[in-house]
Amino acid sequence: MSQALQQLINGLTLGAIYGLIAIGYTMVYGIIGMINFAHGDIYMVSAFIAVTCFTLLASGGISSVVASIAITLIVSIVLTSVFGWTVERVGYRPLRGSNRLAPLISSIGISIFLQNMVQLTQGARVKSIPPLVTGGVNLFAGEGLHGGPYVSYVQLLIVIVTIVLMSGFTLFINKTPFGRQQRACEQDQRMMQFLGYNVDRIIALTFMIGAALAAVAGVMVTIYYGVIDFSIGFQAGIKAFTAAVLGGIGSIPGAMLGGLIIGLIEAFWAAYLSPEYKDVATFVILIIVLMFRPSGLLGRPEVEKV
């Protein structure tokens, strides 16, 4: 029982991170009907920005953990959004209206470029920061030698930040003028153009928002695991992409739900069965869901894009 609770906590933390990255995939798909394969690497870049920032802050003498997390979050979000914007500007906009496969290939190209750029400039070695947030709370204290379920403060931080961010983001998409434009763009880009909206700008902003959410995930992962390298984007990208597909690609609540489900499957499978085959479990469940709901758990049936 105590182990189940522990895994629930671990799975929620992991799921929160997957969910944050998955939103980037699903938003871009929603608006231009394309998978942005460079998104996982955008997340990787944000983790490197975070490590650099944390290291600079620590050597600059800022010892307050809250301040350094806040500053790093802001720096990472801003810089990573710039990367997101660049990906759209370089890899997608010139190819809009061309063959459907062209932007797909160019996003793979950008993904390879980003990985190699980081590998060459930052080195192939792992980067790490000393543990920033330590300690935690033992639920039901005094449950014998091995202790009950244990929530570390980092896990609490990740879950809380994710909940706040996702609720804020949902409000943003549903209630603000930009959110409305973004949703309208998903439905009919040409009509938006006729109505005098700058569609290029809306699409660019969508990429930037996706990147900003990935940046938060990057910072959280840096605090949580403390060790990163240039290749982390691939695996996280695949998992988050799976989460987006599971939840129904194009659907934002679907991405959050998908991330959560994958995090929980991985945590429980690793604890009760074998950590060896947890990826197999994830993908088997994805296949089963897609067999019965081809557009994912919360996805709408495919609408033909113009």
Binding site: S2, Q3, Q6, Q7, N10, T13, L14, Q119, G123, A124, R125, V126, S128, P130, P131, T134, G136, N138, L145, H146, G147, Y150, S152, V154, Q155, V221, Y225, G226, V227, D229, S231, I232, Q235, A236, E266, A267, F268, W269, A270, A271, S274, P275, E276, K278, D279
Partner: protein
């Protein structure tokens, strides 16, 4: 240069079978040797040690007159510890007609690459520890370190003697090296009637090991015997600390890597590992160690072993008076070589006759024999 020696060198290269190369080799009179390991990728710091050792050895050998009057020319192959890449590095070495290969580093790279070298008749000295490497009847492969079964035995002995009554888990990362080592440890622990509460495998390269951690926690594990590389050890230790689990890790030779110190942070003091006796401590290595330190390079881990592999080749070529495969291999099997890691003798399989493993413990930035 001496005409007779040049002729011998030319004869040697000719007998290797490349006429075109013979002309070019006679022109610049050099012997091509290769060093292969993970120069980029996850395990790049291991490859880096390996390359630096080989480079310095080639420099020193050339400074003292080279091999059979010819200078050594070093080419570097990057296998990223990927078996497929290792084969293509091996093929490219074969095409360039190297006379000797120092490498590879990962067992999973050495295994497929050695088949290529065997077909092309190129002698090879490796530091990979998977027992299978020298068990396949390949004549031209030699191992300048011990084997995982020896390493595993030392680790198991240490656990049985020092951690009596504690709960022990054996975990590996499913690689040829990690899995091989963990299997040996588990086997030897069983032989010593030391119970193991958990035997699992994880996937290397992941970031989240919380599933494993809570399993360890639920089983009350205090001692983790681990077969694998240092990144995962760092992550497991950090995540264990976050989950409030006090864990001591005992691993293999790959945990000498000083990147583990940065990656594991304050948890580093909980890491023990087995490694051959530290060659830096021996008198034979004093001069070379000083050369490295003068360049601000700490000759840790595999650096001196890679250096020694080159020395072994140079000495064998000298004794054989040839860089021909059959002559060198014969010398390697029979001769005894003085290197920076001490005297090296190979048995019929190509393993060291007297390998030794010692248990070390990390303390801050340094490791030392465990008391």
């Amino acid at each position: 240069m001496n005409g007779r020696k040049g002729l011998i060198g030319m004869g040697a290269v000719l007998s290797m079978g490349g006429l075109a190369l013979a002309c070019s080799a006679a022109a610049d009179a050099s012997v091509l040797v290769g060093v292969a390991g993970p120069m980029t990728g996850e395990y790049a710091s291991g490859g880096d040690q390996f390359r630096k050792g080989a480079e310095q050895a080639v420099k020193d050998i050339n400074a003292s007159g080279g091999v059979l009057g010819q200078q050594l020319d070093l080419i570097v192959g990057d296998d990223v510890c990927d078996p497929k890449q290792a084969v293509s590095v091996a093929n490219s070495f074969v095409n360039q007609k190297v006379a000797f290969v120092d490498g590879h580093w990962c067992s999973s790279s050495t295994l497929p690459a050695s088949d290529v070298y065997n077909d092309a008749q190129i002698p090879q000295v490796t530091v990979s520890t998977n027992p299978k490497i020298t068990e396949r009847g390949i004549k031209g492969i030699f191992r300048i370190t011990g084997r995982d079964d020896q390493q595993g035995q030392v680790a198991a002995d240490y656990i049985a003697a020092n951690f009596k009554g504690k709960k022990i888990a054996v975990i590996d990362d499913k690689t040829a090296y990690g899995g091989g080592l963990a299997d040996e440890i588990a086997k030897d622990l069983a032989a010593k009637q030391t119970p193991v509460v958990l035997r699992e495998s994880i996937t290397a390269g992941e970031k989240d090991y919380s599933g494993l951690i809570s399993k360890l926690k639920a089983n009350g594990v205090q001692i983790l015997a681990y077969g694998g590389y240092y990144q995962e050890v760092a992550l497991i230790l950090r995540q264990a600390a976050q989950a409030g689990l006090n864990l001591t890790v005992l691993g293999g030779d790959t945990l000498t890597n000083n990147e583990l110190v940065t990656a594991a942070g304050p948890e580093i003091d909980k890491v023990l590992f087995t490694f051959p006796p530290d060659p830096r401590k021996s008198a034979a290595a004093a001069k070379v160690v000083a050369t490295f330190r003068a360049q601000k390079i700490e000759p840790e881990g595999y650096m001196l072993y890679s250096y020694a592999a080159m020395q072994v080749f140079a000495e064998a070529a000298k004794k054989a008076n040839s860089t021909d495969y059959a002559a060198i291999v014969k010398q390697l099997h029979n001769g005894s070589f003085n290197t920076v890691v001490g005297q090296v003798d190979f048995d019929a399989k190509g393993d060291l006759k007297s390998p030794g493993y010692v248990v070390y413990r990390w303390k801050g930035n340094n490791y030392d024999y465990v008391k």
